[in-house]
Symmetry: C2
């Protein structure tokens, strides 16, 4: 492959589009005639302003967000938001609903319990996180400040396509770290969306936070400057130095998505990838077995088992030899996993499914 690259199926940090890497490489020493690398550029310069504004504008365009949304770039990953969200929106007299669909939701719930009342509207532990809840299974509170969920679960390989619904305009809050911008959805019910960048958006070290203004207005300001959403909204994410290089890369990734036809174009490619990979597994008559319920299967992280742990070890090792990296399942669940975020092209899945068929033929 070009530059002797391999297909990178890491769960995150993950593959970036080759076109984006090429653009960065090309302007590395001298960004647009500035005489310096983008990474050396002041966050107060007009050049960085243009980069920053492009990234915001492209995010709004791709997600179809109106002027009532604030698009912020902060630091600390989704894990920081697990704490910052309840710090801002809960107290001992307030309740939030949380859907527990795996490791990340569990962590988010734990942090929220430090600040307010948490109603677990669905506890996926009871189904070993192997499926997502149906709407009628959700035990929602009438007075919740918000309903929190994780849209895609990297470890177990589940993904929401029909988002949960609330009554009385209770806003949705969603950790979209691992599937943001992977398919179309209606942003209107969301009070807040957030995502660590290192899966579908760019490099690690920058965190996207999108706040709907009416929801944002309720946030407490009785916290430190950096933990206050108001600080970042008022200063357009420039209260202190942001991850300038991360915002630049994210902008390039968003431009690239736009060039693919926006979320409609990306959705088409992601569906084709998922159909091909899950289809290959189906045709294997149980050799490659996905333990996740069919209607909950993720397009981003495809988890599967082989007939034995020994074969799984061979599959991962021989896969790496053949140019496929990152196919080992998360250490907490074992098995195999192929993470195929937006930056993984259909070609990568065509190649790996050919490898899977070949491996099965030799070791079936």
């Amino acid at each position: 492959m070009k530059h002797d690259r391999i297909w990178n199926f890491n769960a995150g940090p993950a593959a970036l589009p080759l076109e984006v890497l090429e653009k960065v490489h090309e302007q590395w020493f001298n960004f647009q005639g500035s005489g310096m690398c983008e990474i050396e550029m002041s966050h107060r310069s007009k050049e960085f302003d243009a980069i920053h504004n492009n990234t915001i504008a492209m995010m709004k365009k791709l997600l179809g967000l109106g002027d009532n949304y604030h698009v912020l770039f902060v630091q600390g990953g989704a894990s920081q938001q697990f704490g910052m969200l309840p710090m801002g929106f809960l107290d001992k007299n307030k309740t939030a609903d949380y859907i527990n669909t795996g490791t990340w939701s569990t962590k988010a719930i734990k942090e929220a319990q430090l600040f307010g009342n948490v109603n677990v509207a669905f506890d996926g532990n009871e189904v070993d996180f192997m499926r997502l809840p149906k709407q009628e299974e959700l035990k929602l509170s009438a007075n919740a400040e918000y309903l929190h969920f994780t849209s895609n679960n990297t470890i177990k390989g589940t993904q929401f396509f029909d988002f949960p619904k609330t009554e009385n305009g209770i806003p949705l809050v969603c950790d979209m770290s691992s599937d943001i911008l992977s398919h179309r959805f209606d942003p209107a019910p969301f009070g807040m969306m957030y995502a660590g960048a290192q899966k579908n958006l760019g490099p690690s070290g920058v965190t996207l936070v999108i706040l709907r203004d009416d929801f944002y207005q309720k946030a407490s300001t009785n916290v430190t400057s950096m933990l206050k959403y108001k600080t970042h909204v008022d200063k357009n994410s420039l209260y202190n130095t942001p991850n300038t290089f991360g915002i630049y890369l994210m902008g390039l990734v968003l431009n690239w998505i736009d060039g693919l036809g926006g979320l409609e174009g990306v959705e088409k490619i992601n569906k084709a990838k998922a159909d091909l990979l899950y289809g290959t597994m189906k045709e294997s008559n149980g050799y490659y077995r996905c333990p996740v319920a069919e209607d909950s299967r993720s397009w981003m992280n495809v988890c599967f088992r082989l007939p034995s742990e020994e074969l799984e070890g061979m599959f991962v090792a021989q896969g790496l030899e053949a140019g496929f990296c990152g196919m080992k399942g998360h250490r907490s669940v074992g098995g195999c996993r192929i993470s195929m975020y937006n930056a993984s092209p259909l070609q990568a899945i065509e190649d790996v499914t050919a490898f899977m068929k070949d491996f099965m033929a030799k070791n079936g």
Copy 2:
């Protein structure tokens, strides 16, 4: 100049060593035969482990830190530490001493006051922050948890070379964002040192925190996971995804410093740069005037005035034309400023002082 680059005197994000940029560029598409860019690499991979361990080891080597120090890479910049420090170490029954030498100290004090008692041991407002305190001016508390100071002040252009002293082993805590690794010092009195990377260490988006174990042991754990120092110490900064690319770049910068002869070598170069630039100003007979007291002048950020604001505007604009970027003073103080962190070579200062002489000859 090579790659048509200019001399970058930005206050931060700032110039990186060209040798480091060249190394990144060279391995951009395929890091050490891995088939991917470092920025696409899993933070749980053995390749990243090696990068991470090198960065920690080099930091310990350069600063001469023993095994009783924890070296962490977190996110949020020094501003996040302004809040996280008192959250961890203060409460309403505890006191910390703070030396106020400018904007950054003032912010740190404000955050600390949210959590505990703050004794301002020296208030630089009284001298318009134009000089640093002498040891005998410090009004220290007998029972302080720590004494906090900012070692270098980017906006006013002051820098501590003789660090403050405490009694009874009260630990020093220092925001070293803008001068860490610029000269030798004894780390023994420090309970904590921290620094946003974007001046002397690497790109923005990664924050260095160094904790001495006996001090660290006193930190509260009654906060969210991400705000707990214990989380980052226990997981070696890998509780969640760190800024992997930032840690890689920082490691390259540290290797580069090591190649210059470590802090001794860097100190020699920085002193030569400072002598040349301040010397040029002195020889100008008041044309270039540094308002900072002589014994408090920074080697990193050299602030100066010209005879009029009009001349200052011309100086900055003609300087940019001549290939010198970032010479405008901070918006809060005006005037001119040359920030010359470790990555600015002596040649940059030779060139800019030649320009200064030329400008004065034409506009004197």
